[in-house]
């Protein structure tokens, strides 16, 4: 029995203050979030500076980057900077929609299964496992082939609906261990129902975990959306980083030496996803005292 807890661990400051203290001092977290924030800002503000519609054919095709066209133009004279900043918007949108939907479903399923247990848990776990083993990309291909994806929002929705199972499993496991803690019993004896206990007792204990889940789902959605766009199953309207890559390939940008067509979208996707994963590692270090660099 841990009567024997030494004084030291109890002396630490409030958990939240401590987390913030380590967060601002964590290089990985700050770098990762910084890159994401810079790209997000570019996606939000960029379209204000690029007054050309992104897909409009311009008068000077195949121009390398320069003063007039900052990132050059495509074979059809489209302004690549305009495409890039609009594409960034689409990429962030699909990340938020896809990651958000997956996180919400994952949390609901995970919390309910983990807290209620019993038959509810068995049914939900079975459902989770079924969706988990279905090859997501194949389903998305089929769905797309039959229904067609018209907009970024619909693409995000489909990604979200297929990405939640691993999040649900992780959250269920955490909930399972938390619900046996005595403060949950105490809440029950204070007249709280299941929903209130999940929302107000269990979830706050996992806030860092839930945040990390969302970050990972966000990165995953961006990556899947880009892959879908690249193989030609992206939204038929608008523009995205994946679509830019697809067009660049389709019109032989590589062979023509038009590096400015495919490098910016490729680099941006890598940067967003990479920075999110780096930030996630940083977050891990912030919330897990054992990983903290002292």
């Amino acid at each position: 029995m841990s009567v024997i807890q030494e004084v030291a661990p109890r002396e630490r400051a409030g958990v939240r203050r401590e987390a913030l203290y380590f967060a601002v001092r964590n290089g990985k977290l700050m770098t990762g979030l910084g890159i994401v924030a810079a790209l997000l800002l570019l996606g939000l503000l960029g379209p204000l500076f690029a007054d050309v519609p992104p897909n409009e054919y311009g008068p000077r095709p195949m121009t390398p980057p320069g003063g007039e066209y900052w990132l050059g133009t495509t074979t059809f004279g489209q302004d690549i900077f305009a495409q890039f900043v609009h594409g960034l918007r689409a990429t962030f949108a699909v990340g938020v929609v896809g990651g958000g939907i997956a996180a919400v479903i994952g949390m609901i399923v995970g919390f309910v299964a983990g807290y209620l247990g019993g038959i509810v848990d068995e049914v939900l776990t079975m459902l989770t496992n079924i969706i988990l083993v279905i090859p997501t990309l194949a389903v998305l291909l089929i769905v797309n082939a039959y229904l067609g994806i018209r907009s970024v929002a619909v693409q995000g929705l489909f990604i979200g609906l297929t990405q939640w199972p691993w999040a649900a499993r992780a959250i269920r496991a955490q909930t399972f261990s938390l619900r046996t803690r005595e403060f949950v019993d105490l809440a029950r004896m204070s007249g709280s129902g299941a929903g209130r206990i999940i929302l107000r007792e269990i979830a706050p204990n996992m806030s860092s975990y839930l945040f990390m889940t969302f970050i990972l789902l966000f990165g995953g959605s961006v990556l899947i959306a880009s892959s879908l766009d690249f193989i030609g199953l992206g939204p038929t309207e608008g523009v995205s980083l994946g679509l830019m890559l697809q067009n660049a390939t389709q019109w032989s940008a590589l062979q023509l030496g038009m590096w400015w067509w495919f490098v910016p979208p490729g680099a941006a996707i890598t940067a967003v996803v990479g920075a999110l994963y780096v930030a996630n590692v940083g977050l891990d270090e912030v919330f897990n005292p054992k990983l903290r660099e002292t």
Binding site: S2, L186, G191, E201
Partner: protein, 291 residues
């Protein structure tokens, strides 16, 4: 007030829940207002399971638990009168919130209409009842308080309700020697005010300090129960004797347990009815005289 009648609990174990383990086997006893009853047993005796069944946190398999003649159910109006406190004070508080949130939860559920100032007065009065200085404990996080302070906070929380029965499950076993006796003294004061207490413990010395009556459990069965003085002054069951001899005493040498003939107990399959050896002293042993 509280009455257990043939309470039984079986847990399903193994693949597909095929096997069954009996954790509590036909246990019957009662607790009256203003009375402390000790439920003593080692690990695996089923003592905590009984406590949790009384609190409606575990369903029971068979038998009945009634409070004022009505069956126990995990509902708001039941918890107004019956509350529990557990072993680990640090696990009883949600670590991400301030400790006094346990009071706010009571207010929200049971006294939503009470004005803030009046509620604050009541909280301070309850803290005074458990000998805590409100300024030292309010607004603090659980890890900033000691185990003894946290257990008192929980007792104060119960006092804010119309509490009549407290299930205290090993509430002092994680506290230091110099503070745990104060928590016990506090229970004694509450008992004098008419509170019934079921004191669950593995520690005989703590169990005998407060309790009028004692129930000794072994592997889910009651082996002996009755007035504390009788059960430990004149233990009849071999298991009670063995338990008593194993307790390290401060001022006495460790006596070897008198040679005991456990077969008497086993001969009855470890269960069966209790015999009334003398008035109010029950024992689960077939042949009292030869033990």
């Amino acid at each position: 007030m509280l009455r257990l009648q043939d309470v039984t609990k079986e847990f399903r174990v193994g693949a597909l829940g095929g096997g069954r383990v009996t954790a509590v086997d036909r246990v019957s006893f009662d607790v009256a207002p203003g009375e402390v009853v000790s439920l003593i047993g080692e690990s695996g005796s089923g003592k905590s399971t009984i406590g949790r069944m009384i609190l409606g946190l575990h369903p029971m398999t068979d038998g009945s638990i009634t409070f004022d003649g009505r069956p126990v159910r995990a509902a708001k109006d039941y918890y107004r009168h019956v509350q529990g406190i557990f072993q680990d004070p640090f696990s009883s508080f949600n670590p991400v919130f301030k400790a006094d949130r346990v009071f706010a939860m009571i207010k929200e559920s049971y006294h939503p209409g009470v004005p803030e100032e009046e509620w604050d007065e009541r909280v301070r009065a309850a803290l005074g009842d458990v000998r805590l200085n409100p300024d030292q404990v309010l607004g603090k996080y659980p890890h900033q308080l000691s185990g003894g302070q946290l257990q008192r906070l929980l007792i104060a929380r119960a006092l804010l309700l119309d509490i009549r029965l407290l299930v205290a499950d090993e509430i002092t076993s994680m506290l230091d020697a110099s503070t745990r006796i104060d928590v016990l003294n506090l229970l004694a004061e509450l008992k004098a005010r008419g509170l019934g207490v079921l004191y669950i413990t593995h520690d005989l010395s703590l169990g005998t300090y407060l309790a009028e009556r004692t129930v000794v459990l072994r592997a889910g069965n009651v082996v002996e129960m009755g007035l504390t003085d009788r059960v430990f002054g004149d233990p009849l069951h071999p298991y009670t004797r063995e338990l008593l001899s194993a307790v390290p005493r401060l001022h006495e040498e460790w006596a070897d347990a008198a040679a005991v003939d456990t077969c008497l107990y086993h001969a009855r399959g470890g269960s069966g009815g209790l015999l009334e050896a003398d008035p109010g002293h029950f024992v689960a042993c077939a042949r009292l005289e030869s033990c």
